[in-house]
Amino acid sequence: MTQAKKILASGITEAEAIDRAKQGDAESFEALYGLHKRRVYSLCLRMTGNTAEAEDLTQEAFLQLYRKIATFRGESAFSTWLHRLAVNVVLMHLRKKGLPEVSLEEQMEPQQEDGPKKDVGARDNVLAGSIDRVNLERAVEHLPPGYRIIFVLHDVEGYEHNEIAEMMGCSIGNSKSQLHKARMKLRELLRISLHEKVARH
């Protein structure tokens, strides 16, 4: 079923709800909120790692949606448009907070502390099949903010490096480098978690 034909609980399609919301119809706006709140909230929560902040940002994203909905022309899917708007709201918030995003001076070369052990050490178990959703969520929460944002945008939300670079005002290489470091850090966190789990049993 396409987005436009999706029937909302109120008995109207998403496209109709968008048109009515443009005219100031509160019920249609509530229907749109109901349809998209989970995805927007999850995005905010994963990017910030904080429930209260995520709720505030969800609120801000939907308020901005309403202020800008008249400019939505249907050139992309509504969910894509809303999602991009929400990402911008979160990034703006993080900039205001002064949290590190991506350093423009970031080197493509992996730093020693970010890299794996080289040529030494025994083989360890691979992660495949050993991590579940809860473990991964927890590990993502523990990523440094800059890594977490790139990882969420690329691997979870499916944005391409060129889109991330544009949104964050960094180079594509920078985005790739941060993603690699984020995955390496996640690997480390997941392996620690796996070892702890093994030690407990």
């Binding site: 119809d25 509160a26 929560l45 691979v126 991964l136 690699h180 390496m184």
Partner: protein, 208 residues
Amino acid sequence: MNCADFQRVLPDIIETGGGAEESSHLHSCAICSDLVQDLKYIAEAARMLVPMEDPSPQVWARIESSLQREGFVRPARGTVRMEPFLISGNRRGNFYGWAGLAAMALIAITMLVFNRLHSVPAIDTGTTAQTPDIFSADDKVLLNAIEQKNHSMGEMYRKKLRSVDTYIQDAKHSVKQSPGDDIARQQLMNAYQQKAAVYEMAVSYTTR
């Protein structure tokens, strides 16, 4: 190629698969092979992270309240969320009456102050000739002032005022049909409060 060389180009290998040299190292080195396998697995597992949690109901309550305060939306009749009634019986009717009057008085005072600050003639620009408007003389004065400052802002306020005026008309109609209906009275009060809020924002914009 050793592990250090391999890991230096690892982001590209993950993305593109790498060339013959990298492939050869990958097959001969268990550590690098495990590393690549793990990183690919993490990227795949990230897709498991589908949205699972909803925001608390307070989030929508705050959004709704903000939208109404800003005069962006006109609540659908009969669906508006009601505050608990603290006033009972006939006094309730009086309360709504006074609250409505207070909101109207606020609009009137706002316009009085505005007119003293700006001697703006109430000229209809004719931009809405196609739509029969229900704007009052005060509305038109305010809209003209905004449009003279910024046309697109004028259009936005025209929409807001049209929406809130329609809301007032609907609420008045409901009260007229059911004078004892608390919900209808509450909506009328909300409508006037919204209009006062729109006026406040508009005057603030023109005096910036």
